[in-house]
């Protein structure tokens, strides 16, 4: 199944009974605080334009109240937009009638929730088949498919347990298995890992990345954790007060933060795991020296390879093994530490 991209265009969400009446005013520059004070309406999202890559992981990052959970609920329309479009496969999800929407939710999307949202009265296997059950897939077949996914997420042997008998991490594996069993093209993950403790979170990120390598679904992942965003995201959008303030790849965000808000975030990031060698390499002068590092390697790995080989210099090669540039340890180290300009901004902010 070929994945399709999701296009979010000019999306506005204003919470309140007369939200529609204020769209034009918001477009004309009415702010969130004013709208709330003068009219008692809450601005959830304003002018969201994101193109989510087909078969890739799109991470939407923001702190609480930034509108990220509202945004993901527009993709399967658990929340209706006030204005704007969400296009999937050329169809505007926001204009679907009830039946089409139900079919869209059944076959095209699957969702994983922050608080797991499992049915407490059903066993793990019964929870996992839920999506197929409401599609009307025969019990035998859906159980077989669900069993496969339960094993993939590492819960073999727990099929007949109830959710309450499992730990948080295991419950979220059930949530993931339930979503994957649906075999939908779009996987929506609403702060799916935020309730898990750090080690289990990293573990679950690995599970997702491994599965994604083979499944190539269009994943929309919501998080408030920049490290998680950088690890998972092919593309990242950062939301603040219902507005997208920057979108791009992890490298772009770390290297060129759009404003002080993002700079403050990015300051704490381990740059060695985000920036790739080709971003900082110099043009090749003379013969390739030292160890060969493939394009796409992050600085930390490159530095490790060089120190192990006891070389101060290395050359970067492309996928075909052709040398395209050179780097040395000094450049790597200076790229890995946070630039002074960022520190200054941080100090000024404090």
């Amino acid at each position: 199944m070929a994945s399709h991209a999701i296009e979010v265009k000019n999306l506005y969400k204003i919470f309140g009974p007369r939200g529609r009446d204020f769209v034009d005013q918001v477009k004309a520059g009415l702010g969130k605080t004013e709208l709330n004070e003068k009219h008692g309406h809450v601005l959830g999202l304003q002018d969201i334009n994101i193109s989510m890559p087909a078969g890739g992981v799109m991470v939407v990052m923001g702190l609480s109240g930034s509108g990220k959970s509202t945004l993901i609920r527009h993709i399967n329309r658990l929340i209706d937009p006030t204005a704007g479009e969400v296009l999937y496969d050329g169809v505007d999800v926001c204009k679907m009638n009830e039946n089409d929407l139900r079919e869209f939710r059944r076959h095209k999307t699957a969702m994983v929730f922050q608080k797991f949202a499992l049915l407490p009265h059903r066993t793990i296997i019964e929870n996992t088949v839920y999506g197929l059950e409401i599609q009307g897939v025969p019990m035998d077949e859906s159980r077989k498919r669900a069993q496969g996914w339960i094993e993939r997420v590492g819960l073999k042997g727990f099929e007949n347990h109830y959710p309450n008998q499992l730990s948080g991490g295991m419950q979220q594996r059930v949530g993931l298995a339930r979503a994957l069993t649906n075999d939908a093209d779009i996987l929506l993950m609403d702060e799916a890992y935020s309730a898990l403790d750090p080690l289990i979170r990293v573990d679950m990120q690995t599970v997702l990345l491994d599965l994604q390598k083979e499944l190539k679904k269009t994943v929309v992942f919501i998080t408030h954790d920049l490290d998680e965003a950088l690890r998972l995201g092919d593309k990242i959008a950062i939301l603040r007060d219902g507005k997208v303030i920057q979108q791009g790849t992890g490298q772009e965000i770390v290297l060129k933060p759009a404003d002080e808000y993002i700079t403050a975030f990015v300051k704490e990031v381990n740059r060695g795991r985000v920036i790739n060698v080709e971003t900082i390499m110099k043009p090749l002068s003379g013969n390739p020296e030292g160890v060969a590092v493939v394009v796409g390697t992050v600085l930390e790995s490159a530095a490790r390879m060089m120190t192990l080989a006891n070389h101060n210099v290395a050359h970067v090669v492309d996928a075909n093994g052709r040398a395209v540039g050179s780097i040395d340890l000094g450049t790597i180290i200076s790229a890995m530490v946070t630039p002074i300009s960022h520190e200054k901004i941080q100090q000024a902010a404090e």
């Binding site: 009265h121 109830y162 929506l188």
Partner: protein, 302 residues
């Protein structure tokens, strides 16, 4: 009162409508109501006929079956429901005691009545509760009606019930259902409204239809609360069958009524205790069953 000499008459003595007007109004309402009932008497009879059949059938079944079979069935139901040997033994002992003091047949009549009332209350109450949970407007309309049903003294609505349906078992049955159905409706409504929003959202996200959402998520998760409603309904039916004996319902209630009229102290207490025994059996069994339904939530991962 001395103060009245300083006040205008209107503010001292309440300006009530005068007696003749009241009497006229009363008479015309009563006559109009009676006339209305009289003109629809056949339709009303036909409407309640199935209830009559059902009630008579069950009563006959309970009374005419050998006591040992009834007892065996009761023990089976109690044990299956509660899975508790103490409740089961308690049931056997209390039923045997009831038999020894010669109240077996009356108890069976009451049992049939309570069974039918509870079934009707469930069949009527759950759908109304569901409607209430789905719509704020329905809730705002039904809630005051339930308030009236619950606070109106039960003797008062025996009057229209008797006027419409006459004297007998069925009017008694209807009075009992009216009295016993509000907790069923309220707790169904409450149970559905208390279902976790996140789980409902998940059901929606996977594309559940409203019926699938009700059947797979709302009803199962509301079931413990609904079971509490059923329990309340049974208890209230048992309390009301005594009052309903005033309009011709037989069984233990009628004995109590006779005991009151004739000051039969012992008879009154025997029948009273028989009612208490049945109430406790029903209560413990339905509660234990309700608890068993929630077994999945007992084992919490530490």
């Amino acid at each position: 009162m001395a103060i009245c000499s300083y006040l205008p008459d209107l503010l001292c003595k309440f300006p009530a409508i005068d007696e003749t007007t009241i009497r006229m109004a009363r008479k015309s309402v009563d006559d109009g109501f009676k006339g209305l009932v009289r003109s629809y008497v056949n339709a009303i009879d036909a409407l309640v006929q199935p209830l009559q059949w059902f009630l008579n059938y069950l009563e006959k079944l309970f009374v005419s079956s050998p006591w040992i079979i009834i007892l065996a069935v009761m023990v089976a139901i109690v044990y299956y429901g509660s899975r508790d040997i103490r409740i089961t033994i308690g049931t056997v002992i209390s039923m045997l005691l009831i038999g020894f003091v010669g109240l077996w047949n009356d108890t069976m009549v009451t049992l049939a009545m309570v069974t039918v009332c509870t079934l009707i209350a469930i069949v009527v109450g759950i759908p109304i509760g569901i409607i209430m949970a789905r719509s704020e407007r329905a809730q705002s309309i039904i809630n005051p009606i339930l308030d009236v049903m619950q606070t109106m003294p039960s003797f008062v609505y025996l009057i229209p019930v008797v006027m419409i349906f006459g004297i007998g078992k069925v009017p008694g049955l209807i009075a009992v259902v009216i009295y016993a159905v509000p907790p069923m409706i309220r707790l169904t409504n409450l149970g559905i409204r208390l279902v976790d929003k996140e789980v409902l959202e998940a059901a929606d996200a996977f594309g559940s239809s409203p019926w699938q959402r009700l059947k797979n998520v709302q009803m199962p998760l509301a079931l413990p609360t609904i079971m509490a409603g059923i329990n309340q309904t049974i208890m209230m039916s048992l309390a009301m069958v005594v009052v309903a004996s005033m309009v011709g319902v037989g069984g233990l209630g009628r004995n109590v009524l006779q005991a009151i009229n004739n000051q039969f102290f012992t008879v009154g207490f025997f029948n009273g205790f028989a009612l208490v025994a049945i109430a406790i059996i029903f209560d413990r069994t339905s509660q234990a069953y309700g608890k068993r339904l929630q077994k999945h939530s007992e084992v919490i991962h530490g």
